[in-house]
Amino acid sequence: MTNYLRFLGATLSLFAVACHASQDAAKPAAAPAAKPAAPGAVSAAAPAAAALPHYSQTAANSALKFTFEQAGASAVGTFRKFSTTLVYDEKNLAGSSLDVRVDMASVDTQEQERDGMLKDADLFNTAKFPAATFKSSSLAKRPDGSLEAVGKLTIRDVTHDVRLPLTVKPTATGLQLSGKFAFKRLDYGVGQGEFKATDSVGNDVKVDYSVSLAKGGS
């Protein structure tokens, strides 16, 4: 009987390993932080940003999703409240900029107990750090022609230089801004106490955003 059990175990684990491998392959690469600027990204000194078109987030068609790992499974949550301002001129990327402010207490993982835990001191600590921000100084073109925002991401009280990939598409009413990036939650101190361990709550967080922007606003 032991042999059959062993056979059963081996079959199950082979299946498991195969699935795991394919999952790994599907993971997008993390956005490299503090990479040197792409050559040719900045052509001329930027004129005053005020002269460039401003866009701000509209109520509809905007979503900020994040994927987190817990107990070996990944789940998706969203932030219900966030605001985005884009100064954008495709001919003047150096003078363009992106500002995002996320209301951390608006976190929604479709489960109230977990949302409460996220807002507590060990994780977001929303009482002390109500907002996460991304402030870019410029946009730039990557060697492959895609866009990225060069700036500072602040979560809790920790700030890092990051380059966030983004796509800007014209719509009937303005622009649709979207992109995906990944970061490590512990780089920003999201996880104090028992949450410093990453075996139950993974360190990798993936962000997927799509923001509808209309011309005007601040």
Partner: protein, 183 residues
């Protein structure tokens, strides 16, 4: 010991399925009791084990049912009364149903709560239902109700096996024991 069943006794693979699932169900009950007392990460970890073992039960249940359909089922002894046969048939049917229904309702509970199911951190099962608090509560209640039914039917099953062994003195129990031999 034969790998396959015969009309007189269970083969070793059928026995392995039976006892492995028994052990897993007892483990599941102990983990669930413990998890109820825990909070935060410790609860998350305990429930991760519960889910991994539960999905193992489900996978074993699929293999077990397939194996049962591919094999002869040992007959009850000639002296078994019709009402005993009927009761045995009903309880076996219920037990088979429950080893599918318990993991499936648990899986739906997880999906409804947006706590997707991983199998020992190796791979993730897709969600069965969309996250919704009401679905979670329905599945939670059903999972608990089914557990009570499982305990009841399992006790009846054990009582039946003991009656066969000690009162009727036939080999119905012996032929399912891991190292039991049937003349």
């Amino acid at each position: 010991m034969a790998f396959r069943n015969t009309t007189r006794s269970w083969g070793s693979l059928s026995k392995a399925f039976h006892w492995l699932i028994v052990l897993l169900i007892i483990t599941q009950w102990l983990i669930a009791e413990r998890a109820d007392e825990l909070k935060g990460l410790a609860k998350l970890e305990a429930l991760a084990w519960h889910k991994s073992f539960g999905m193992t039960v489900l996978m074993l249940a699929v293999l077990r049912l397939a194996w049962r359909l591919m094999n002869p089922t040992p007959d009850l002894s000639q002296e078994t009364k019709p009402w005993e046969r009927a009761l045995a048939k009903i309880s076996h049917f219920l037990l088979y149903t429950l080893i599918f229904a318990m993991p499936l309702t648990g899986w739906m509970m997880s999906s409804a709560k947006n706590y997707p199911v991983s199998w020992f951190n190796l791979f993730q099962f897709p969600d069965l239902v969309a996250p919704a608090e009401q679905t979670f509560h329905q599945m939670h209640d059903l999972h608990h109700l089914l557990f009570k039914v499982l305990v009841g039917v399992a006790l009846l099953h054990v009582a039946g096996a003991l009656k066969h062994h000690f009162i009727d003195r036939n080999d119905v129990l012996k032929r399912m024991l891991p190292f039991g031999r049937v003349k």
